[in-house]
Assembly symmetry: C2
Amino acid sequence: MNSYQNKMAKRKNIVFIAQSLDGYIAGPSGEIDWLDMVANPGGEDMGYLALMQDIDAIIMGRNTFDFVANYDGPWPYPKKVFVLSNTLQSVPQHLTDKAEIIKGKPKAILDNLGKQGLYTFYIDGGVTIQSFLREDLIDELRITTLPILLGGGYALFGDMEKRLTFEHESTAVYLGQLVQSRYVRRDIDFPLQT
Amino acid sequence: MNSYQNKMAKRKNIVFIAQSLDGYIAGPSGEIDWLDMVANPGGEDMGYLALMQDIDAIIMGRNTFDFVANYDGPWPYPKKVFVLSNTLQSVPQHLTDKAEIIKGKPKAILDNLGKQGLYTFYIDGGVTIQSFLREDLIDELRITTLPILLGGGYALFGDMEKRLTFEHESTAVYLGQLVQSRYVRRDIDFPLQT
């Protein structure tokens, strides 16, 4: 294995996201108030800081970026953000050292970022996650489910031509209410012997 | 509280079902092979027998009934099955003592069954579960998630006009791979203090 192959072998794309019981990441009008439905007085981060240490950079969709860029609070990411958009021309002035626009298909984007020495990514935003999954480019899912049925909205997962099997790695319950499960991508011949 | 109110107060409708990571109960062509994706040599029942003891009867949709009635194996239900169908005229001859057709809307059906002394039900089948949820008639969800993305199919949950909040009760992992969470219906004022 040469150096490039070696680095590609450690490539990892991680999804870390919260969903409702019925699989939405936002309500019909983009509502995300329910993400705070459980009081969190101790500031439990539910694995967010560990994730930030695990990754080289973040790849997010344009909708997620717009939301974060307009959020009235400190910039939440300690790692470089790549905004996947074929229409956005530039990022706001105050974010030019934090975020960069990238264009193209997931595979080509990952190859290009790999050449810059970036191999491990937090993949965020429903559309972006779905486009990566359709090309089987997600290695790990860390999904936190909140105890609410929204009845409609923006779905985490979308239609795919092909099934994808995963292996359950661990499950933790945060604040007594939020169920977080981690899954790693693995082709499984049924029935999986455990 | 009179006797009737007392019995109504203990009414409970329980959903017990398996879904894919992307929230389907069957694939695009009705595939359910993935329900057996994890080997279960010890015959772990994942709470099924306890559920059967918890309930007075089963209410299921016509699709689920057709599937079970045609299944080549022993009849799986120790309690009476009520098949919710406005078109089905009769059940197969060999099931006349096990299953009965009922018609009407969920609330009226529950009232009628309550008069027969039946108060606690296992509600099964996607369409039936969704129609009960739309009238806020589900008291408990016991959902087992399998580690596979199907990419399409028959969804467990459907559109609803109104959000429904639940309280997480417990989560267990079966066979190292299947995550089962139990939720009880409760109106929650955000943020819920735990």
